[in-house]
């Protein structure tokens, strides 16, 4: 039987506010444990939360960026559960009245555009972090708690169950991440935990209208983990159904090392969070003027930027889509494009060698050692015929190592392409004199002879002869 997969994502994104959601402690990542803490975020007896208005501002901005309706009346609720990293043993969150409702994001998969609904976005606070003495909680004698992250503001973005494949889920998460970066509400660093994702997954027979029972998969800390976990979970659920079993509603965790999802708790064991309105905070009213101001200050979003790159820079759809997928990449592109007319050439380099380098080094474009200006200049040198594409790769590698300008490296390495006709004629004639048999072969219709001669000439010129000129001159001389 064929099956249809149904996927919905819940994404937690840490907001880029300077101070925490309910106290004035710093939100900076990576401080010494328990140095960004106070009576409020440590849950000391008697301490009270006070809302950081910037949290609301960022939530409105994120909501508008994904076309949500912004709710004017906002209140907070307490979500009650015991865990050592939760200093008050309740989390201040929004339960039945989230700040944003009913938005969407358009994704593209295999050239098809698809609209993924966003159910809601709500504001809440993050918990601290457990640091185990051993490799895992089960193999540890003790655990310590770092409350630096406790109280850092989050938004939780809940999608509709509109995705049908791991590729769609990935595309949605990438798009959402780009939007959160463009709007500067979040760093979206998955490795630092500032963007976290849970997936609700179910399968149903193809053509069915009623969704299957879903499992919620937690601990998806990278795009790759998201895709792998979904693929694994789909197969697990299909296998279960095929074997005559039934999928149970439960929470599962992704074990990245083993590549499997494992049961954490069943529906029966699920928490009763006992939500009730947070009595320590007063409701927040958001008026039209506030919404209008945030709207007017929204930066250019990925979709608009893509359209601009296609229209103004002549990029094709695929290239533009990939360039705008992260704000940093789009900014790098714009900066490099200031130094050359050849936007397409920049795009080719960014999506080719540059991306390959970033992937192999596992770094982001922000850490890329070549400046946008230098990449732009290199493209110019290629277009002027100073560098062959082969030599350009050599220069590219040197630029990565030294950070020098391409012009300087071309000189330093003596790599300038020889485009002087006189000089090339000299080498061509020399080579023809050394290889009379090749001329005979060529005239007899053996095209390979031409290739051989070009190779000899390139060798003599140490790769610097302009290949196009070499070709033309050879053909002329052998007629």
């Amino acid at each position: 039987m064929k099956y249809t997969t149904v996927i919905g994502l819940e994404v937690h994104s840490e907001l880029k506010t300077k101070s925490k959601a309910f106290c004035s402690c710093s939100t900076e990542f990576g401080g010494e444990p328990n140095t960004h803490v106070c009576a409020v975020c440590l849950g000391m007896p008697g301490a009270l939360p006070v809302l950081n208005k910037q949290v609301v501002e960022f939530a409105i901005r994120a909501g508008l960026a994904v076309d949500c309706e912004i709710k004017k009346f906002n209140k907070f609720d307490r979500k009650n559960y015991f865990y050592p990293d939760l200093s008050k043993n309740y989390q201040i969150s929004q339960f039945d009245k989230p700040i944003c409702e009913g938005g969407h994001i358009d994704i593209e998969v295999d050239g098809q555009t698809k609209r993924i609904g966003i159910t809601r976005i709500h504001m809440e606070e993050d918990a601290g972090k457990l640091i185990h003495s051993g490799a895992t909680i089960k193999t540890s004698d003790s655990s310590a708690v770092d409350y630096n992250r406790a109280g850092v503001p989050l938004i939780e973005i809940v999608s509709e169950p509109d995705m049908r494949s791991s590729a769609e889920a990935r595309a949605y998460l990438e798009k959402l991440k780009a939007i959160l970066e463009y709007t500067e509400v979040s760093d979206c660093k998955m490795q630092e935990g500032s963007l976290r994702c849970d997936a609700n997954i179910s399968v149903m027979p193809e053509g069915a209208t009623e969704f299957g029972t879903r499992a919620e998969i937690k601990n998806l800390n990278s795009f790759r983990a998201l895709e792998r976990a979904i693929e694994y979970e789909i197969q697990r659920q299909i296998q279960l159904v095929e074997d005559g079993g039934t999928v149970v509603q439960e929470t599962r965790t992704w074990d990245d090392g083993k590549g499997v999802t494992l049961s954490m708790r069943s529906k029966e064991e699920a928490h009763d969070y006992r939500y009730f309105p947070e009595p320590d905070l007063v409701p927040v009213e958001i008026d039209d003027a506030w919404i209008a101001r945030v709207k007017s200050e929204l930066p250019e979003l990925p979709a608009a930027r893509k359209a601009r790159l296609m229209q103004e820079k002549g990029l094709v759809d695929y290239d533009a889509e990939n360039i705008v997928s992260t704000k940093a990449m789009a900014e790098y592109f714009d900066e490099a494009a200031k130094h050359t007319e050849d936007s397409k050439g920049i795009a080719n380099w960014l999506l080719g060698d540059v991306s390959a380098y970033l992937n192999s080094e596992n770094i982001a474009i922000e850490q890329f050692p070549i400046t946008p200006a230098n990449l732009g200049e290199m493209v110019n040198l290629i277009n002027k015929g100073v560098l062959s594409s082969k030599l350009a790769k050599k220069v590219f590698i040197e630029m990565l190592k030294t950070g020098k300008t391409p012009q300087a490296l071309v000189k330093e390495l003596g790599l300038e392409q020889i485009s002087d006709e006189g000089a090339i004629v000299k080498i061509v004639e020399e080579t023809l004199a050394e290889n009379p048999q090749s001329i005979i072969d060529y005239k007899a219709g053996k095209d390979r002879a031409l290739g051989f001669l070009v190779g000899q000439i390139m060798k003599k010129s140490r790769g610097k002869a302009n290949p196009e000129m070499v070709n033309n001159l050879l053909k002329e001389r052998m007629q």
Binding site: G43, G46, V50, N80, N89, P279
Partner: protein, 487 residues
């Protein structure tokens, strides 16, 4: 000289005129404490060294001719659920037996800025949950009027210090009557300000939407004086009200002519001790004689107030007390071998039975499937109770009721918890509506003080202070010292 019997405003005069020194006064009160504390047991912790150092500082200020605030150099006592930096704050619980707070409550900061003196921390029902001060982990406080009786609660320690001469002024907190009822049982003045008048920052939360800090004092003037210092908006408490604070002492005029005093009939019905009723009837007649107009009003939802309170307060408490888990501070069971086990064991051993009863009650009413039937309904009734008061205040300027339907009762009287809960029927509705309420001595029944409660409109502490002051000045009830009898 028995300085410990005096009021703060009398002592302020003496300090300014250099008739006494703050050190002399402070030592005098500590001597009194040494004399009677073994019988009263009002304090959990004393802080004599720091108190005397502070007194010496104020004496220097006076000697240097500096102007001093009305509470400067005058020793007071602080309920032990109000956070004092470096001075342990136990909430009378084993859970926090050794907790030294890292910060001062907002009210403590304000009082320190006025250069006042903190004698120590007073006993309370554990986490302010109770009406007798019997649920304290550190033992029961005794009523200075008769040591065999309860002082009321939960601010029983703070009330007893005033009645026994163990402090000049004190702070309590009031969630369902915890300032007013012990003030009534010990013959003191106690006021619960409008919800939001005083910052709750640093008052260890019992029920956040009901808790309010307020003074317990020997007379109305002192109550107004302490209010002047502790009231006002605080950026650290979102529920504190951004309104101007009047000089409450200016409201103390001996005049109730034309004032309309409402008597809610539901507060004078069954369950009211006839002797208490008689004292109040006389007080009402006195008011009328002084020119006030008495009108009967109705607060029809009064009968639902206690049950509503015992849903909302425990619900909030169940979350507020969740932080006491043995992880960051407080009592920890050291034998547990896992974090969940440690938390369970620490809470089982660290909390007393009344606290656990209320945590369970609150957890239950918030549980999925019960929320609508209990918590949501209680919130709706709370709105009705608030509206009752709004309606009543269309016919009068303030309300007069008993503070408690009874006088102080015996310690360890084996009373059913539910019966004790029901006795808070006169004070609880005031918290549910967020209104200001004051208890003032109205007379005696069988030698025990009877308190009269005056309830004001939102933010209208001035009218009830004025009415309380007028009554007080016309009588001598507040001047009678507790005999420390019984036993």
């Amino acid at each position: 000289m028995d300085l410990y019997k005096s009021t703060a405003h009398e002592l302020h005069e003496k300090l300014v005129k250099k008739e006494i020194s703050s050190v002399e006064l402070t030592n005098n009160v500590y001597d009194r404490i040494a004399e009677v504390e073994k019988d009263v047991k009002a304090y959990v912790t004393l802080d004599k060294e720091n108190a005397l150092a502070q007194a010496a500082k104020v004496d220097k200020m006076i000697a240097a001719g500096e102007a001093i605030a009305p509470l400067a150099g005058i020793p007071g006592a602080i309920k032990d659920n109000i956070s004092t930096k470096g001075l342990r704050t136990t909430c009378s619980s084993k859970m926090l037996e050794n907790l030294n707070p890292i910060y001062d409550a907002h009210v403590i900061k304000k009082l320190r800025a006025d250069e006042t003196i903190f004698l120590g921390k007073t006993n309370l029902d554990e986490f302010a949950m109770g009406s007798t001060t019997e649920t304290s982990y550190f033992g029961t406080t005794h009523n200075p009027w008769n040591l065999d009786l309860v002082p009321g609660g939960s601010s029983g320690g703070s009330a007893a210090t005033i009645a026994a001469g163990e402090a000049i002024w004190s702070l309590g907190s009031d969630t369902g009557g915890s300032i007013r009822q012990p003030a009534s049982f010990t013959g003191c003045v106690g006021i619960k300000p409008t919800y939001g008048r005083v910052s709750r920052y640093g008052c260890v939360a019992f029920a956040s939407s009901l808790d309010q800090i307020g003074p317990i004092t020997r007379d109305v003037t002192d109550a107004a004086t302490v209010l002047n210092t502790i009231c006002g908006v605080d950026p650290h408490d979102s529920t504190s009200l951004p309104v101007d604070v009047p000089d409450f002492t200016k409201a103390l005029k001996q005049d109730v002519k034309g004032l309309k005093i409402g008597l809610p009939k539901e507060y004078f019905g069954a369950g009211l001790d006839p002797k208490v009723d008689a004292v109040l009837k006389k007080a009402i007649a006195d008011y009328e004689a002084m020119g006030a107009e008495i009108v009967e009003v109705s607060l029809p939802h009064t009968e639902y107030a206690v049950i509503t309170y015992y849903i909302i307060a425990p619900a909030e408490a169940s979350a507020n007390l969740a932080r006491f888990d043995g992880v960051r501070y407080g009592y920890r069971n050291m034998k547990a071998t896992s974090a969940p086990e440690m938390t369970t064991a620490s809470r089982t051993e660290g909390f007393g039975s009344e606290v656990k009863r209320r945590i369970m009650l609150g957890t239950y009413v918030l549980s999925s499937g019960y929320y609508d039937a209990y918590y949501l309904k209680a919130m709706q009734v709370r709105t009705l109770i608030r509206k009752d008061f709004e309606e009543a205040f269309k016919q009068c300027d303030l309300l007069l009721t008993p503070t408690s339907p009874v006088v102080a009762y015996p310690i360890d009287g084996k009373m059913d918890p539910l019966a004790i809960y029901m006795l808070d029927v006169c004070t609880i509705p005031v918290n549910l509506a967020g209104l200001p309420g004051i208890s003032v001595p109205a007379g005696f029944a069988d030698g025990l003080p009877v308190g009269m409660q005056l309830i004001g409109k939102l933010l209208d502490e001035e009218t009830i202070l004025r009415a309380a002051y007028t009554f007080e000045q016309a009588h001598d009830y507040h001047k009678v010292m507790a005999p420390l009898g019984g036993k």
